[in-house]
Amino acid sequence: MSAATIQKKADVLVVGAGIAGLQASLDLADQGKQILLVESQPSIGGRMINLSKVFPTLDCASCITTPRMASVAHHPSIDLLTYTEVNKIERTNGKFHASITKKPRYLDETACIGCKRCEEACTTFLPDEYDHSLGAKKAISIAFTNAIPQYPVLDMDECLLCGACAKACPTQCINFMQEPQEIEAEAGAVIMATGYNLTEISAKKQYGGDIYPNVISPLQMERLLAPHGPYGGVMRPSDGKIPDSIAFVQCAGSRDKSLGVPYCSRVCCMYAIKQAMLLSGSLPIADITIYYMDIRAFGKGYEQFYQNAKAMGIQFVKAKVGRISEDENHNPILRVERQEDCSQPEEVTHDLVVLSLGMVPAWIPDRDGIIPLEIGEDRFVRSVNEKITPSLTSMEGVFAAGTMTGPKDIVDTIVEAGAAATEAANYLRSQEGR
């Protein structure tokens, strides 16, 4: 039934269009390389585009990401596929062959004008994954305000099949019968930039992150702080109360063998400090407490950022949080074992608690297939020459960028993406003579 398979050819196949994939693509395309950039989500921009502001400069995340998104979308040397999955990548005769599936959005992208009338007409509300389920979307919707491209996706599993969207569409572009489009691509090199997931909020049973409505993930807090967040301000999910007392529990998903995440996730200290600073800006009278083991403000300008936060009155308490419960009004109660000042464990009630979750790889080769790259003990893709060429994977011609090789902040991710681009360009050149 589906249309004939489309053939594509590029110098470099880049998998993942988060900040790492975008940067690697631009750094190669600006050198004249032809790029095929494949993103599984409806929009490019990755995790970064949904953050509020970024440390330590407090630039709005969108302001840093959107220029790159627009440059990628308009670059004459970048062929961009969104809402598209890579199924398999094989290396034969020094070339990479990828089988790729473009998932149906159930509309004709060449006709869609991104007017959102379909979304307005739709009557089915669903949790919005871009707001980490805090907010709502429709069964047909554009991912977020500044998404690229501005085409909606129809969630066929949830669609009522009422036809309201098709009726409202001024260009008649809705096609309920659309089939996946198969694509076969050939490339000279591959850059993998598949990013990270947060550790599961339910993983640590003692914290009840999946049970208590006011115990939230850091990405949910990012949305609450974002200019176009789901609530239009910082409120708590259980009842819309503007919180007076907010706590961050550090290392809630890292440095914890019981969770299978013994490593430090590198960014949690800084994002918690940043969120605390932004909170104290928008809720000047609120008490904000960060329960931590060590504050790891190691990057350029990070220590100074941490000291500013202390000077602003954010409370840093060296303590272990043993468990979390809640009272009848959904106020989270933390059992805190201070490691300074006082020895007795105490129970402290807050209005809202953020679990500073860690990072795990979003894609794991031996679990998810696609391409058999070696992984390390931590399950991130292993660099085979970590000190000198961190982007080198176990397969010749395949390079890694960003958080797929380990937790990393945005600055380190962008730098490493540039390094991966250099390696890919030089690999292509080394293959020319063969």
């Binding site: 009557t123 509300f125 669609c159 819309g240 109360k241 503007i242």
Partner: protein
């Protein structure tokens, strides 16, 4: 391919509903529930702005569910923020 293109969206829907069978009913039911919840909340804030706990009391729904619907209807311009009432925002039907 050629044939499908010729199908109008109403014909497409008819065919897909047939394929779906019983699954359709379940979704219809959920849709009714969704409409009911929205109506109840909008009725509660038609005349005066109310906070989430106040709406919950008026409608008998739980606060978390009410807040999610307020968020949804705020996004799609059916509800607007009115004033701050204590630690809460009072919402009004637009």
């Amino acid at each position: 391919m050629e044939e499908e293109k010729k199908l109008s969206y109403t014909e497409q829907i008819k065919e897909l509903r047939a394929r779906r069978g019983e699954g359709s009913k379940e979704k219809q039911e959920r849709s009714k529930e969704q409409i009911k919840a929205q109506k109840a909340i909008l009725a509660a804030i038609d005349k005066e702005a109310k906070t989430v706990p106040e709406i919950a009391e008026a409608t008998g729904m739980n606060t978390q569910e009410v807040f999610w619907w307020i968020t949804a209807m705020r996004k799609y311009n059916k509800v607007t923020d009115e004033t701050k009432k204590g630690d809460y925002i009072a919402y009004r039907k637009k």
